[in-house]
């Protein structure tokens, strides 16, 4: 059984159905990429997995480490070991990065973390992500550049050591250096801590630095195509439109025969 199991997930927001039966399994130590064009439902899936209050699950379930978390509060999911790196990280004025990290770590623990242990962990994460020490005394995301915000997301991920991390378009708006730092950070957390990751992206860029074992393509609220890293290359060659035409044909055929449409495997 996979650590994170998403079964036939249907999600609505503002009276519109965005996800229309998503099935996905992710375990620790696995790197998955979820790709799809704009509006396909990628961010909806990411936020639904963390329990965003604006998204209503109308069908299906989410199970994490054997527990049904379909109805769980966001902070319960986080404490259980899920993490979301935001596409647009929110600024928290008046709260330093270090203080916020300490609060978040303590939220997962019975006893507050020792000062020395915290400092060591922070130092390790700072080196991993190539950020300045002064960075951690700035207010979280307040006045941060796009690149700094994304680094701060990965810094939080490194400190909170989740089982499964969802990275929602973490690559968008990053220059190549920032992108490499972020990607290498994810790869190292995978290699060192056995992190499982779902990298959500529109582009292929980040996947040149983090190698996914599994690639899923989301279109119109469904995963329409699944495969290995070769799918990324194919997408690079052919683009979403070509794939849409192809799977559109098979989906239509499936509807005609009365089957729901399973993703095409390549």
């Amino acid at each position: 059984m996979a650590d994170l199991e998403i079964t036939d997930l249907h999600v609505r927001t503002e009276e519109r159905e965005i996800l229309r039966g998503v099935n996905l399994e992710i375990s620790r130590g696995e790197i998955h990429a979820l790709m799809g064009p704009n509006g396909s439902g990628k961010s909806t899936l990411a936020n639904t997995l963390l329990g965003h209050p604006s998204y209503e699950i109308t069908e299906g379930s989410i199970t994490f480490k054997g527990e049904d978390i379909t109805e769980a509060e966001p902070h319960e999911r986080a404490k259980a070991g899920l993490f979301l790196a935001f596409q647009y990280p929110v600024s928290i004025p008046g709260v330093s990065v270090a203080n916020f990290l300490r609060m978040a770590i303590n939220a997962k623990r019975e006893e507050p973390i020792q000062v020395k242990e915290f400092r060591n962990q922070l130092q390790h994460a700072i080196e991993l992500l190539d950020v300045d020490r002064a960075f951690t005394s700035r207010h979280l995301n307040d006045g941060f550049s796009g690149g700094e915000k994304k680094r701060a997301e990965i810094l939080q991920m490194a400190m909170l050591a989740p089982d499964i991390a969802i990275l929602d378009e973490t690559d968008s708006g990053l220059d190549i250096d920032a992108l490499r730092t972020v990607a290498e950070g994810v790869q190292r957390l995978h290699d060192e801590q056995g992190l499982g990751a779902l990298i959500i992206t529109h582009y292929q860029r980040i996947l040149h630095y983090v190698k996914p074992q599994f690639v899923h393509i989301l279109m119109d609220g469904r995963i329409v195509l699944e495969g290995g890293v070769e799918l990324v290359e194919r997408l690079e060659r052919e683009g979403y439109d070509q794939i849409r035409q192809e799977v559109g044909a098979s989906a239509a055929a499936a509807v005609a025969t009365g089957n729901s449409s399973p993703p095409t495997h390549v």
Binding site: R77, S91, I92
Partner: protein
Amino acid sequence: MSEPGETSTAAVATNGAAPIKVKAGRHREASLYHALAGAGAGDGRTLAQLRDAARLAYETSELPVWRRSGFWTTSLQGLDLGALEAPARSEGAGEQQPGGVPDVVARTLPERPRAGRLVQSGDEIVHLELDQALSERGVVLCSLEDAFRDHGELVNAWYSKRLAIDGNKLEAANAAFWRGGAFLHVPAGVVVEDPFEIVYAIERPGVAQYGRTLVLGGPTSEFRVHEYDLAEDFEGYPEGHRQALHAGAFELYLQDGARCRLAQFQDWGRGEVFDVSTRFVGVGRDAYCHWLPALLGGHLVRQHLELAVSGSGGEMAFRGLFFTEEHEHLDVFAVDLHETGPSGGDVHWRGTATGESRSSFEGLIQIDPGAQKTHTYLQIHSMMLSPKARIDTIPSVLVSADDVSASHGGTVGELDETAIYYMQTRGLDRPTAVRVIVEGFFEPLVAELKDEALEELVRGRVARKLAAARQDIEAYAISR
């Protein structure tokens, strides 16, 4: 046309940008609010003469009302002044237990190094201490009564110099009836790192406390003053017998080149404490004052706070934070007064409200004729935490010089649901996330206290108030 009050609705405060609608032909009400502007009583009269004049004013005046039609009315009609203890020291002192430091003071004040401490409970000084080394260098900390006896020349020159004694009934009552009081003098050139603590405490209902403080900073002196205004919660007293009054008068004068950090921690507890006070800070030539009142509780609180730059080259930073809850009513009139230039001002206040409380803040920048080359800025930020609470903020600017810059701005915010969700995804539960946001909202000011013990006290009190308002805040989130 209806009353101009329509510019302000419940749970939506005005900000600096909103024009204030005024009926044609009517004076704008800002003219009701005069900065003290030299209206002081200290004109060579003796203390006895001033007390007599004040008593007359007390006997002939009514309880004051402060009104900003359409915005707020601060009325003392709920105050049963007659039922409060006669403003004269009780006779038969032998029967009374000698006053100790009230529990609320022992509970609240942080353990930390200090330069001195004076505690007045009711109308009695119950604790006085001053660092011996400072005493030897000429620093004086004592009751104001003793100061008139022992340092008459100095005190007479400054007492009530800029405070009126007959502006309203309670101001007059203070000037006529004050007992005890606090006097601090830091002589020229003396630099003191640790704070002087001045405490006014009310232990039980039925008390009218007339607090009176005079602080003098000699040329180039540097020091900190922390004032605490505290009351017990009056638990166990029946409804209708839980009132007390603090009518305070505070004046601080900084002479040439003096520097002072003045902080006030005010929390009158859960009893029915009325606080009507006037505070004046005068900044002399090249002097500097950083003043931060933290107004964190009181049944009805009306504060006239005035920071005046009276000497050229004077600078001030006027900060403040407030947090009202339940049915509390707060009315702050904060004045940033420039009497001469060049001078600098920077006013920055932040406030929030829960329950059905009301917070009203008017900030006035006044630049007098001749105060050229003055640069000042006033900002006020408020955050709504309850659908039934109300915050109004009005900035006013009266400029009578032509080579100055004076501006103001403000924001009105609510809890940011996106930020709450963001923090939840990091494992913080919703109440904790709300606390983080509100603490972060106040943090820019709290951090300016630059005093860890006091910062922790303010943060802790804010957290406690948020915890008490938890359901309220939830209801607000759902209603949106």
